[in-house]
């Protein structure tokens, strides 16, 4: 296991992106801003590397891209698919179970 928490954090960016897209369709820059703002920079998703992740999710049928014109430029918005919603539910459940488990260990260690 690495000491930078990378293995612990694997899958978290996908969970976060799916959760944001469950609210409304968003484009890459908006997603990056929202992650920064909502996590107060605690969770860092490289802004450029967000795109291979989004394209990978699209290839797996989790998100659906929609091209829209914005200020003369073509912009790609992403929306969640039914498969994406199911994946979000599974990831959320897994994250909550893991988080509760870790929290109970941290809590009991704190009381000792």
């Amino acid at each position: 296991m690495t000491d930078n928490g990378s293995s612990l954090m694997a899958g978290v960016p996908e969970l976060v992106v799916l959760r944001l897209l469950a609210g409304r369709d968003m484009y890459g820059y908006e997603i990056a801003r929202a992650v920064k703002m909502l996590t107060r920079d605690a969770l860092s998703i490289g802004e450029g590397v967000l795109y291979p992740a989004l394209h990978g999710m699209e290839a797996r049928g989790l998100v659906r891209p929609k091209a829209r014109r914005a200020g003369g430029r073509l912009r790609i918005y992403y929306g969640l698919t039914a498969r994406g919603r199911a994946r979000l539910a599974r990831l959320t459940d897994a994250w909550r179970r893991m988080s509760d488990g870790v929290e109970s260990i941290l809590g009991s260690a704190h009381h000792e």
């Binding site: 890459g28 802004e47 291979p52 990978g56």
Partner: protein, 237 residues
């Protein structure tokens, strides 16, 4: 300056085997992201040079982006995902399909002309020339052309050299084992066409020579494309 960076990103992604559709999308989205970072930095009062530097830093390097794309096999083009299939078996199948289609066209043409051919005397020189032309086209030009097209395509997609070379050798070997006979005559029997495949111990030498000629003809464009690429890279360094 930024255009150069996005052009480099496009080239790098294509070389990494990412499908053209994903490359177009990636460059479009990263470029749009860059412009928005730039606008945000300018709105915070940064001068243009600092805003650009900040935007590039936030996006990450092209190398990192290309690595992340390359790590996702689902984003690669089909030929890059299955190079062994695409550059060895697909050329063989294409050759057989194109040959069958061309033969069907030839048979249909002769059938349409049969009434005219019944009343025509065709000199033996023309019959010999047609027979030779059909053999050269079906057994030499067609396999060499198909093998060369797939080999150059493989080079453009930066596929490991072993696959296009294996494809050329396989196709050359197959073409050398095939025999095509075409006889165009007038009068009572207006024409015959036949094709067969087989190995004959008596014609091993001629079959090997044919295979080598086809392989040589198909390897030449690949060799030219590789030389050109090496020169361009050397010039850029």
């Amino acid at each position: 300056m930024s255009e150069g960076r996005f052009s480099e990103l496009r080239d790098g992604l294509l070389k990494a085997g990412i499908s053209r559709r994903n490359v177009r999308r990636a460059v479009l989205e990263v470029e749009d992201h860059f412009h928005q970072l730039l606008e945000a930095a300018s709105a915070r009062g940064l001068d243009e040079k600092s805003a650009r530097a900040h935007a590039f830093e936030a996006l990450g390097t092209n190398r990192l982006l290309i690595e992340r794309y390359a790590a996702r096999p689902e984003l690669r083009a089909w030929p890059n995902r299955w190079p062994a299939l695409w550059f060895t078996l697909v050329p063989l199948g294409s050759y057989l399909a194109v040959s069958a289609a061309a033969m069907a066209v030839l048979v249909a043409t002769v059938s349409l002309m049969s009434a005219h051919l019944h009343q025509t005397h065709i000199p033996s020189g023309v019959t010999l020339f047609m027979a030779l032309a059909v053999r050269v086209i079906f057994l030499g030009l067609l396999p060499a052309l198909i093998a060369a097209v797939f080999a150059v395509l493989a080079h453009r997609r930066r596929i490991a050299l072993r696959w296009p070379v294996a494809g050329i050798l396989l196709l050359s070997a197959l073409a050398s084992l095939i025999n095509v006979e075409f006889t165009l005559t007038g009068g009572a029997s207006p024409g015959q066409i036949g094709a067969g495949i087989g190995v004959s111990t008596g014609s091993l030498l001629s079959q090997s020579v044919r295979a080598l000629m086809v392989a040589g003809a198909a390897l030449t464009p690949l060799w030219i494309a590789m030389r050109r690429y090496k020169r361009t890279r050397a010039a850029l360094r």
